[in-house]
């Protein structure tokens, strides 16, 4: 038997952004019916490569060639999404490119009919219906996209590509926003599409799903091809080492010793019920020496819990208790003084003041202490000294204490925040999406620090959409859905599927619905 035909080939693609070489002479082939995973850390060049393939960026060197219907390999003109679409390349972006004010049907039709015509809505509907029947991408075509779930929006995106007869489908981090069940559903669809001849390129940095769905894996590192292997040969360690370029020290979690309850939510309600930010009757405890995971799909009330723990909101009803005493009149400053540490979700925006220096950002929560100010005047020397030791201790890569914080990469901003909040030996830590967008090395560092704080006796609440992260850290799980928090139990007794069902709003006690 001969190999399936090559659908797409990238030939020595090089792309530079200033001095940075984002892609350095990368070549790859994609065959019919093949699912190719493109793995790499943030900044490895995966998304840049795909944006070149799809015409969003123009490469400095190299060729993109796509097989035509006749079987010839034709090169694509650079920088033209229209040409890529016409050649049968479809892309599902990490951030969906949907017009939320239009229906799913209209989003799929958009750009497929001559602008100055009456359109062919009914014909389009019939064709999309048959694509849905064939692929299993069930979705309500007439609802406004704004009212669809993230999983449904993604299905619309895939349908957009299939409606244009895509023979190559590129998915950029498609599972980042899905529940485990939705992700599994996506894999089923992808296998089915591949079986029908579609070539799929699947960009990810999650090893587990890559091994589960792909036939072949290509690893990028620092803009270069670091290795290529079939899924059958691959194992997690080997791939992780390829991605990082050196052996990754695993973070190990030892059982902690759990102390008394430090913080209690007692029947807390906040906001209008059924809005994305509301909380309804939330009760849970955070105990000393314990890491508690708050799992959930984003937009189910996590931001409100984070706001409460940051002193940015107060409950409409119910009580927050610190050491058994009700907390009244909270403010961010009071919370910091009471020993709260906050790692905000949007660290670049809420975690640092970009135009202020690294030293100022490290001192910012503590400027009233006698060490850093006297009679209301800042002690610049003390700030510098503190910044220098923090930069060294937390490995914050920056030109120096006087560098503006906005120039730091995401991982280094997070290390700066860790340095700021952990040096004060906080008793209660809110870690909101602590490693989102960080590479494996920085992730491990953040996890180590959080575990060390727990071992010191801090109570930690970790909010994350990444279940792997939560399982790596947590002693106990809470799951939030539609503003309600359920206690899922100790981490050791749970698996991903159970958490996934709770995230989707099905309670423990009822049988999961047949899919």
């Amino acid at each position: 038997m001969t190999d399936p035909a090559i659908l797409l080939s990238l030939d020595n693609i090089t792309k530079r952004f200033g001095a940075l070489v984002a892609n350095d002479a990368i070549s790859l082939d994609l065959r019919e019916s093949e699912i190719l995973a493109l793995l790499g850390e943030n900044g490895a060049g995966k998304t840049t490569l795909m944006n070149i393939l799809f015409g969003h960026y123009v490469q400095d060197e190299g060729l993109v060639r796509v097989r035509s219907n006749g079987g010839d390999m034709n090169s694509l003109p650079p920088g033209s999404p229209g040409a890529a679409l016409a050649a049968g390349v479809g892309m599902v972006h990490q951030h969906f490119t949907l017009a939320e004010n239009l229906s799913g049907l209209d989003n799929i039709r958009l750009g497929t009919e001559p602008l100055l015509s009456l359109g062919r809505r009914a014909m389009a509907r019939t064709r999309i219906k048959s694509i849905i029947a064939e692929s299993g991408l069930e979705v309500d075509l007439d609802r406004r996209v704004a009212d669809l779930t993230v999983g449904e929006k993604q299905r619309i995106e895939i349908l957009k590509a299939l409606y244009r007869d895509a023979r190559v489908l590129i998915l950029d981090e498609p599972t980042a926003v899905l529940t485990p069940q939705e992700a599994e559903g996506l894999f089923v669809v992808l296998r089915r599409l591949a079986a029908n001849g579609l070539g799929v390129i699947f960009i990810s940095h999650k090893l587990g799903e890559v091994l589960a769905v792909s036939h072949r894996i290509m690893v990028l590192r620092g803009g270069k091809k670091a290795g290529e292997l079939t899924a059958a040969q691959a194992d997690r360690r080997a791939i992780a080492d390829l991605m990082v370029g050196k052996a990754v020290a695993e973070v190990t979690r030892t059982p902690g010793s759990i102390g008394k309850a430090l913080l209690e939510f007692d029947d807390v309600c906040l906001g209008k019920p059924s809005t994305r930010t509301a909380l309804s009757h939330v009760s849970f405890k955070l105990r000393a020496g314990e890491i508690v995971a708050l799992a959930g799909i984003s937009g189910n009330g996590q931001t409100t819990i984070a706001a409460l723990l940051s002193g940015l909101a107060v409950p409409d009803s119910g009580t927050l208790r610190l050491d058994g005493q009700p907390m009244t009149r909270t403010s961010p400053r009071r919370l910091v003084e009471a020993g709260f540490a906050r790692m905000p979700e949007d660290r670049q925006h809420d975690g640092v003041v970009g135009t202020m220096s690294v030293a100022e950002n490290i001192a910012i929560e503590d400027v009233r202490s006698p060490e850093l100010s006297r009679f209301g005047f800042l002690n610049r020397n003390a700030m510098q000294t503190r910044a220098q030791s923090a930069i060294a201790a937390y490995d914050v890569r920056c030109p120096g204490p006087d560098a503006e914080a906005r120039l730091l990469s995401g991982g280094n901003v997070q290390k700066l925040i860790l340095a700021r909040v952990l040096e004060r030996e906080p008793r209660i830590i809110l870690a909101n999406q602590p490693t989102r967008g960080l590479d494996i090395g920085a992730q491990a560092e953040v996890h180590r620090r959080i575990l060390a704080a727990r071992d010191r006796g801090a109570a930690v609440l970790v909010i994350s959409e990444d279940l792997d992260e939560l399982f790596a850290l947590a002693d106990r799980f809470l799951v939030i859905h539609a503003g309600e928090v359920v206690e899922a139990g100790p981490a050791d007794a749970l698996d991903r599927a159970t958490i996934g069902l709770l995230m989707a709003g099905q309670s423990h006690t009822t049988e999961p619905l047949a899919q």
Partner: protein
């Protein structure tokens, strides 16, 4: 009470309401098209002036009435092109560019008027559009007489409401315009040109705005005065929000405003001795603020309004 009844029962009142609404219908449709594509066009006030001046001057210099309408639309399109260049191509602030266009278009119009007609003391007149009777419609009781007093430009405005609604909601072009104002990335990813759509929308929208101005000098009046636009453009900007960016509601909003305005003129005549005239002049504006407060708080803005789009940039 009798006074109010008399006012509302008179065909003249409704005729005036429609006449006052006509320039607003043009303007609000134009602003709506621009904003649906994601571009706020605060040049509208100046484009009204430019349309009023250009259309009138063309007729005064010998072009036919429809020739004047065409010239006015071209003048509007030209300023629209400038606005599109500044905001869509260069990605500059839409507020600043729009206000700049208003100042520029207003001054350029006055300048052209003064230099073309240096010696006139009172504004020269032209023969404006005349009211026409539409067979059938004009015989209807009550609304017949109100419509009977309108000119072809008013009919054009009404027909344009239907055309704009049809294009926006029933054609692939309208789909693309609505999409580009919500999320330009959706349009780009489907192989269409974000810039092309936005430039086109701003140019067409600005041409419609200019027709609103042309109506003032070629139908409502027969001459060009300084200050005659008098904030009508700004009212259109408010009406778009009131209308939630929908052509049908835009028509309703313009007619409501026209009715308020016609009403205050008549009320002034009836009880003007007791209440100072300025109170009446304020009324339509106060009511439009009130209407905005009631409607616009839950307004569904085009999500990409005011956001420039740069190809290849991450959003």
């Amino acid at each position: 009470m009798d006074v109010l009844l008399d006012i509302f029962a008179s065909a003249n009142f409704w005729a005036a309401a429609i006449r006052i609404a006509t320039p607003l219908i043009f303007g609000v449709l134009g602003a709506l098209i621009c904003e649906r594509a994601g571009v706020l066009n605060l040049g509208i006030e100046g484009i009204f002036v430019a349309g009023a001046m250009a259309g009138w001057l063309a007729v005064y210099l010998g072009a036919g009435l429809w020739g004047g309408v065409l010239i006015a639309a071209l003048a509007g399109a030209l300023f629209g092109l400038l606005h599109a260049f500044l905001t869509v191509i260069l990605g500059l602030s839409q507020h600043v560019s729009g206000i700049g266009i208003t100042l520029l278009a207003t001054s350029a119009s006055y300048f052209t008027y003064r230099t073309t007609l240096p010696d006139v003391s009172s504004p020269p007149r032209i023969a404006p559009f005349q009211p026409i009777a539409v067979p059938g419609l004009s015989d209807l009781p009550f609304i017949g007489p109100a419509l009977f007093q309108q000119t072809l430009l008013t009919w054009l405005a009404l027909v344009l409401v239907a055309i704009v609604a049809f294009v926006l909601y029933r054609t692939p072009l309208g789909l693309a315009i609505r999409a580009v104002g919500d999320n330009p990335a959706s349009v780009e990813a489907q192989g269409l040109s974000v810039r092309g759509l936005r430039i086109g929308a701003v140019v067409i929208g600005s041409a419609l705005m200019a027709l609103g101005g042309a109506f003032l000098t070629m139908s409502a009046f027969d001459a060009f005065f300084f200050g005659m636009v008098n904030g009508r453009g700004w009212i259109c900007i408010a009406l778009v929000v009131f209308a939630s960016w929908q052509p049908g509601k835009a028509l309703l909003g313009a007619l409501l405003f026209g009715a308020f305005d016609a009403f205050q003129i008549r009320l002034q005549a009836e009880i003007g001795q007791v209440v100072p005239g300025q109170v009446f002049l304020m009324m339509p504006y106060l009511l439009s603020i009130l209407a905005l407060v009631l409607v616009a708080r839950k307004a569904d803005y085009p999500r990409a309004l005011l956001q420039p789009w740069t190809k290849g940039q991450r959003h």
